[in-house]
Symmetry: C2
Amino acid sequence: MTTIPYKTYLTEDEIPRRYYNFRADMPQQHAPFLHPGTLQPLQAQDLYPIFCEELCNIEMDTTTRYIDIPEAVLDYYRTFRPSPLIRAYHLEKALDTPAKIYYKFEGNNTSGSHKLNAAALMAYYAKAQGLKSLTTETGAGQWGTALAMACAYYGLDLTVYMVKVSFEQKPFRKAVIETYGGKIIASPSGTTEVGRKILAENPDTGGSLGCAISEAIEASMGDDNCRYALGSVLNQVLVAQSVIGLESKAAMEKLGEYPDIVIGCAGGGSNLGGLISAFLQDKLTGKANPRFIAVEPASCPSLTRGVYAYDFCDTGRITPLAKMYTLGSGFIPSPNHAGGLRYHGMAPSLSRLYHDGYMEAIAVEQNKAFNAAVTFAKHEQILPAPESAHAIYSAIEEALKCKESGEAKTILFGLSGTGYFDMNAYMAHLSGTMTDHAPSDEELRQGFATLPQVE
Amino acid sequence: MTTIPYKTYLTEDEIPRRYYNFRADMPQQHAPFLHPGTLQPLQAQDLYPIFCEELCNIEMDTTTRYIDIPEAVLDYYRTFRPSPLIRAYHLEKALDTPAKIYYKFEGNNTSGSHKLNAAALMAYYAKAQGLKSLTTETGAGQWGTALAMACAYYGLDLTVYMVKVSFEQKPFRKAVIETYGGKIIASPSGTTEVGRKILAENPDTGGSLGCAISEAIEASMGDDNCRYALGSVLNQVLVAQSVIGLESKAAMEKLGEYPDIVIGCAGGGSNLGGLISAFLQDKLTGKANPRFIAVEPASCPSLTRGVYAYDFCDTGRITPLAKMYTLGSGFIPSPNHAGGLRYHGMAPSLSRLYHDGYMEAIAVEQNKAFNAAVTFAKHEQILPAPESAHAIYSAIEEALKCKESGEAKTILFGLSGTGYFDMNAYMAHLSGTMTDHAPSDEELRQGFATLPQVE
């Protein structure tokens, strides 16, 4: 028997009762969101037609350090949280590393990922505001599933615009969303103006996250009892996801541990931003100095190869502009890219942190990520999501560096979800038909050419 | 905040260190296994060519009340156990029942079910005996996945004979098994004599569990470094699964609770037998008198419509004979039957308990089970396995009886697994194309006609 257990669960009473809004401790805020027509900075009220009011207020709030989690959301969290902090004893042994590896496992709920943390808050505020329905988009499907579950829980209707290529490749994701009562539409679709326009230009397109966002927003606009919900990128999402980091830190404190390195996969930034939150507070306030590593796919490398600039959050260019690391809203990852992490930009607040040197980033080819996933699955016995596999890759890399140097560093990474609905990708990897593709300089140039002229 | 939490986890130190072998407390044992050729009662040694020796010893052991869990198995259990005991507050509220509903959730591991409890023990004993490989069969896929995970963990090769109809309908189950290094063959196959014989007689057959068992056993027989492993029916399985009931009872004791009714789905009996184990001890020793309800599918009703007789455990008639409730080894459930629980017989020890009046049984049509599953998913936020849905149906029924009578009974049911790999069945149910089929008296007669003449 080891002194530190495999799994550390907080009690339900120890679930954080307040979110942590790390912007309150940031020395520099991200540049303001701009109105897509006037290019003027937005106020919270300007976003009320799009999102629930309370979420708009959180979106713009750079001063409230702690935000109370509504009681009804806490009650919902108790059905699937706290999530376990797991010591990767078996992986450590297989790697023969002196490093201590921990992971925060967010996949033990039916949505299969951390996305449910934010979905719970968004559905709650929609219900509290008296709305009848929400719209959203989904790519790989975790977010759509999570919001469908939360809407079923609070009694709201939901329409999900699912990126067409995923819609066709993942009928089972669709089935889960429908089991929870969600309505699902392949995007681009004929149900919106922006969808029809994109289809007219490119009838054979498999769609993109940016395009599905445009459609979901448009679909919500006509109905005063409906709003739109987004599962990543935004500050409101990162605030909700701070429960991951707060729980991680509390659990590590119980064990007398503190991470030297915190590693998260990075698409729009929801898991990464949530995971690092509580440790970021220590870093921003000088209490500790852990390294943060964002791991993105080589096929969609917004941090490592993007530019820091104002850009649209969607392909249809109907959203506000955000200053962020971006590949251009017209950038679409190579069709051979499996799994999520395919958004063209990165959360504005995380982009600012990266720009200011608080965070590192690496990009990983997908076959390397899947190799890490299979190793992890065999030793730790959990089949990871392709997204999470990126973080696993980096954690293994850092653990092997420790083996080299003899240092017993403490590594924490985010196991954001499970891969049970991603078996097509695993099959491609196992059969050797999965290919890697990093965009060429020319492909990047084409993406950057879609950036708006703002500055 | 409620006084009883949603989820009660034991600590890793509180994982049972001993299995409970309920046969030690049974007043009447099941009739002995018989040799398929001589019809003479078998000794443990007679089974050594089929199963690992330690498992054969457990199989025949009717006197050792508690059996130590090997340290290496405990260490493995710590990666996925203890499993949570969950109070179904949201379901109770939706049903408006005074009943208290608890469920023991065994699905939070990558195999998606309780099957991993027995797989861990079997793979461990194979390794300890110096074997190189195991063979097994799988129907719905949970057992094959579980054994593949355990074999990956202990470093053993595995060949899985998967019922052909499942093999074709569930490519993702196959992919998970292959990710863990398992080799998978659609059954009936040309790789065994019994498979070739069945194919010659019926080239278009979708296969059956009984047939896959025959193939897996035959495939293991030629190789002295290989044995066969079975995931249900046997005493060795029920002993391993006793961790479910032991943990359930320990968790309920912490909460000051005790079940009036314990409900489990019933195919071969592995989840049911495990779940009731610790409470059965109380019943057998007169300490308490909870009701036990076995819930089987109407399309494969071995307890409610079968006969109590000696039968083969497989279709190829190469296994020992067991006295059990059975529909005849030639019985094959209607092709419209989704999910597991499709074995023709019931665990001999559970059959004996049922015969002696310690247990009740009901049979449920699958659309009723799926209705219960969807209700449960929306309120409790976990998407159940079709197998588990049968137990949910009965738990809801009992809770509604409490609403009628005003009694605040305590109900415990087994949520044996998740339905993430069963979305075809959910889609059929949601779209209204799922049909119900209980065998006609004539179909039952055809199954009974395949029973051997023993008594």
